[in-house]
């Protein structure tokens, strides 16, 4: 195509003229758009500024929160602007290309001396300019109001530009998709239906994949982050809403560029479909019969699956699920045939096609149900994998950052050493048979990622039915250097990031802070050394006596400043060097966790799995020192017995930090002030509760 034939001067002139004309004809839609953004953007800005001015007079210190509020209104976190953008994209696409579905208008436009790609562009640009006018006008108004009222510091140029680009790109993405949908359809109504279907397609397919993965496979696992990532790459709405609603992530430029390219490509597809679209399809339900058939069967399959889920949940059981398949499949097929033909009498058209689709679906479903593809049976050998990432629910995730995702935690526990790979695979192999119902909740949950030699990653989850067996195998991994150096952040942090450390021994305030970087680093070094020597066997019998929290700011912990914590670690009684150093720095107070004198009494309880009490007191306990509640719990006030319990008791708060700690069945609540309800919960190491002989 030569530059001469691509666009003549005359066509360019006509392009501009027709675009203006189209915008004039869509004035009502552009006005609606403007009004929508006025109420979603400008009016909230005015309200925010008014509130800000009132608060500023009363509390001059509140400026930060006022700025934050105004920044939210004009920024990407304004949910209403996001929703309005999506709605307007769909509306403007329908309005701009509405004429394609009317024979009179098709004859009018297609008889004009302008090529179809340019006709397409006039409609495309009319909708785009309409949106730009509506949004930018209101944005300018809002920014003007903010600056004129003295709150200009609330905004930065980068933030405003980023927000504009975000809304524009996702408008384009949804707009282009909706236009492509209208090309496939022959009426505005079917165009809107097609738009809705295409927007919901990937999220629905992803959601149903997850549901059926869990239904069909015992070892199904797809990390949430991968689902989220897939959703963000496949669905413009998912990506847009994530970027708008998430306060943690900044706008990802790469994702925005991706969706811009996607929008341009889809715009190109729309233009191609427009040029190929037969003019005589105006008024029919569908313009292209083959793509329509493909879309129809995709919709039928999704509805079949959705029907299955619905009846499985309501009716419970495979029988109802199959009933749901039939309902979802047949009804959706019939409805679509009526829509495609605009004739109710065609409701049972193409029944043969439905039958074939149904047979294929049944075959595929049965194959998955019987695990003919080997999903559940999959277990690689050691020479097939280059690494195995494995995590369990028996973990110390409190040492990790709150921003860390489940996938990050999984990859943090990646084993490359051959002996660890072997141990991980053995652990998976022992869990590959599904747990029987009798095993109860004693087991442990495992999530695995096999990193194959080919680069492929395979995810599975298992349930180890016996906790004891699980721990025996898990201990090989935990006790390894590789696990600790990868898992605990303290091993990855540089000394420069460890500026201060606080010590907390449970119940109440910190017992002390170290604010010299050298001391903080020294503590970290000692703790690392002693952590490397820690084994699961040791951890079964001891609970932490303190927690150390490192901050990357020397003022960490001062005046309520806890935002600079980088990690925290438990300190066990066996970590003698660390405890000695902590005592030397004056941040650790050894000794009894509570004063005997401040304890009014102790509540004790112990239940078995069936809920029956198993607590028996030692012989010779005076009844005067004992109360028994209606629920069977025992309250002791005898100081001597309380003292004996204090010697062995461990704070529940600290014991919970050790997932391997084996606690006694007896639980204790030390009451310090019955009137105020102030008490401290404790546990005891297994077999070390001093007062009872359990049945």
């Amino acid at each position: 195509m030569t530059s001469k034939s691509f666009c003549s001067k005359e066509e360019s002139r006509l392009l501009g003229m027709l675009t203006k004309e189209k915008m004039r004809r869509s004035l009502w839609a552009i006005s609606l758009c403007t009004l929508a953004f006025f109420f979603m953007l400008t009016v909230p800005t005015i309200m925010g500024v008014q509130q800000g001015m009132e608060r500023r007079q009363v509390d001059p210190q509140a400026m930060e929160s006022i700025y934050s509020m105004l920044s939210t209104i004009v920024g990407r976190h304004n949910v209403f602007v996001t929703l309005a953008t999506v709605a307007m994209a769909v509306l403007l696409a329908a309005v701009s290309f509405h004429y394609m579905h009317k024979k009179k208008q098709v004859d009018f436009y297609h008889s004009l001396p302008i090529r179809r790609p340019w006709l397409f562009l006039t409609s495309f640009l009319a909708g785009l300019f309409g949106f730009l006018f509506a949004y930018l006008l209101n944005l300018a108004l809002s920014l003007g109001i903010i600056f004129c009222s003295g709150f200009g510091q609330a905004l930065s140029g980068v933030q405003v530009l980023g927000t504009m680009v975000l809304h524009l790109v996702f408008f384009l993405a949804v707009y282009a998709l909706s236009i492509a949908a209208h090309q496939l359809a022959g009426t505005t109504a079917t165009g809107l239906l097609c738009t809705g279907f295409l927007l919901a397609l990937f999220p629905a397919a992803l959601g149903l994949t997850i549901v059926y993965g869990q239904l069909l496979f015992d070892h199904w696992y797809l990390p949430d982050e991968i689902v989220s990532r897939l959703g963000q790459w496949l669905s413009p709405l998912w990506s847009y809403f994530t970027m708008s609603f998430s306060y943690n992530d900044s706008i990802r430029a790469g994702m925005v560029v991706y969706w811009l390219v996607w929008a341009l490509v889809l715009g190109g597809v729309g233009m191609f479909l427009y040029t190929r679209r037969p003019s005589e399809s105006a008024g029919k339900a569908v313009a292209f019969s083959r793509p329509a058939a493909v879309l129809k069967y995709m919709a039928v399959i999704l509805c079949t699956l959705a029907g299955g889920v619905l009846f499985r949940v309501i009716g419970v059981g495979l029988g109802w699920q199959i009933f749901g398949f039939f309902c979802g499949g047949i009804i959706s097929h019939c409805v679509l045939e009526v829509v495609y033909n605009l004739d109710f009498k065609k409701i049972f058209c193409h029944i043969k096609g439905l039958g074939i689709c149904g047979v294929c679906f049944a075959a595929l479903y049965t194959a998955c149900h019987m695990d003919l593809f080997g999903y559940d049976k999959f277990l690689p050998t050691a020479d097939q994998v280059k690494a195995v990432s494995l995590m369990s629910n028996e973990n110390e995730d409190y040492v990790l950052s709150v921003d860390e995702t489940q996938l990050d935690t999984l990859y943090r526990q990646t084993y490359r050493q051959p002996e660890n790979i072997k141990a991980a695979l053995e652990l998976c192999a022992s869990s590959i048979e599904p747990a029987s119902e009798e095993s109860g909740w004693d087991g442990a949950r495992i999530w695995v990622c096999y990193q194959m030699n080919s680069g492929r990653k395979v995810y599975r989850s298992y349930f180890a039915p016996s906790r004891e067996a699980f721990l025996e195998q898990w201990a090989v991994l935990y006790d390894s250097r590789e696990y600790k150096e990868n898992y605990y952040p303290i091993f990855q942090l540089k000394d420069s990031e460890l500026q201060s450390v606080g010590c907390w021994q449970g119940e109440g305030d910190y017992t002390g802070f170290v604010r010299q970087q050298e001391q903080a680093a020294a503590l970290a070094e000692t703790l690392r050394e002693e952590t490397l020597n820690l084994t699961v066997e040791q951890l079964k019998h001891q609970a932490p006596v303190a927690m150390l929290e490192w901050g990357n700011d020397p003022n960490y912990g001062k005046e309520g400043n806890y935002s600079h914590m980088v990690t925290q670690m438990p300190v066990y009684p066996s970590m003698e060097k660390t405890l000695a150093l902590m005592e030397e720095y004056g941040i650790y107070q050894p000794g009894a966790l509570l004063e005997l004198d401040e304890i009014q009494g102790v509540w004790l309880w112990s239940w078995d799995k069936e809920g029956a009490h198993t607590l028996e007191l030692e012989e010779g306990v005076a009844m005067a020192d004992v109360q028994v509640s209606d629920g069977g719990d025992i309250y002791i006030t005898d100081k001597e017995r309380i003292a004996r319990m204090l010697e062995k008791a461990v704070l529940s708060e600290l014991a919970d930090r050790n997932p391997y700690f084996e606690a006694d069945a007896v639980r204790a609540r030390f009451v310090l002030d019955e009137n105020m309800g102030y008490s401290v919960d404790c546990v005891f190491p297994a077999g070390e509760f001093p007062l009872s002989t359990a049945k």
């Binding site: 005359e10 006509l14 009179k104 297609h110 004009l112 001396p113 037969p278």
Partner: protein, 299 residues
């Protein structure tokens, strides 16, 4: 010149045009006749570049029409149900077409609107069907297009307006060699304006002839004989129709006027007179020869 060569068009299972071949010469008024569903509108829509032929070629002055703005700029299409922008006035319509067709004559538009007694500022959607057609024709004529495609345009026009439009079209043909193509199912409507006529039937062209040639080649004569005569007595002339009512005979024959008169004179009539043939009668004769009943074709 517009040439259609083996043009075929399907709408699903319906064959709307079946290998149609036709030539529309410039500077002549081409009448496209056919019953409902014959394919007239389809042919015009393809000629206007709205529909793409499934096969064959449709060209104007040697260039493909479809997706060719250069050619389409010389064609103006008046649909049987013309679309107007909602709330548009004739003035806005004039301005719109003036920007599309560089040769649009705004002054002439104004004059013609006055001539037809149509108001420039009144909204077109308040016009009657006939008035809307008048506006469309005026737009078409003032556009300066070389080809004016009219689909059932005379339908809905009152007799006065119809005559006015016919005069206008004739004037355009004479002045600047415009080529109107008029589709209709009403033969009488086209009789006094068309130079060339094509008959469409079920998507195919039955015939396409110059009207004058048709008229020259066929003549109708009424005569009275004292002695009865038979159809065969007129041999070797090709008698297309032979009607006897008492002693009055009406003969339509494919021959020159002179040949027919000479033959009749040789048979010694009491009286004879050559009668004018209507387009309808010519058609009846032509189609009967081909084995069709004209009434089934057109009514």
């Amino acid at each position: 010149m517009i040439t259609a060569t083996d043009v075929t068009k399907r709408f699903g299972n319906i064959l709307a045009m079946d290998a149609v071949t036709a030539v529309i010469r410039e500077g002549s008024v081409f009448g496209l006749i056919g019953s409902n569903g014959a394919g007239k509108s389809t042919f015009l829509r393809m000629t206007a570049g709205i529909l793409r032929p499934d096969s064959g070629s449709l060209m104007a002055d040697g260039m493909e029409i479809y997706e060719n703005p250069q050619v389409k700029g010389r064609i103006f299409y008046i649909s049987d149900e013309q679309y107007f922008y909602s709330n548009a006035t004739p003035r806005e319509l004039r301005d719109f077409y003036a920007s599309i067709y560089p040769g649009f004559d705004k002054g002439r538009f104004q004059t013609l609107m006055k001539g037809f007694d149509l108001q420039m500022e009144r909204k077109i959607n308040t016009f009657s069907k006939g008035m809307k057609k008048q506006v469309s024709v005026i737009c078409g004529i003032c556009s300066g297009a070389d080809y004016l495609l009219c689909d059932e345009t005379f339908d809905g026009l009152d007799p006065v307006a119809r005559q006015a439009v016919k005069s206008l079209l004739a004037g355009e043909v004479a002045e600047r060699n415009m080529t109107p193509v008029i589709a209709s199912h009403n033969l009488r409507e086209l009789e006094d304006i068309c130079d060339h006529v094509g008959l469409l039937h079920r998507g195919g062209i039955l015939f396409s002839r110059d009207l004058e040639d048709m008229k020259l080649g066929i003549h109708k004569l009424q005569c009275v004989f004292q002695e009865p005569v038979e159809r065969g007595d007129f041999a070797p002339l090709e008698v297309m129709s032979f009607d006897k009512r008492g002693s009055l005979f009406t003969i339509t024959a494919r021959s020159s006027r002179e040949e027919l008169e000479e033959k009749v004179r040789s048979m010694g009539p009491v009286f004879y007179e050559v009668l004018p043939l209507s387009l309808e009668e010519i058609f009846i004769s032509e189609t009967e020869v081909q084995g069709y009943d004209i009434k089934k074709l057109l009514f």
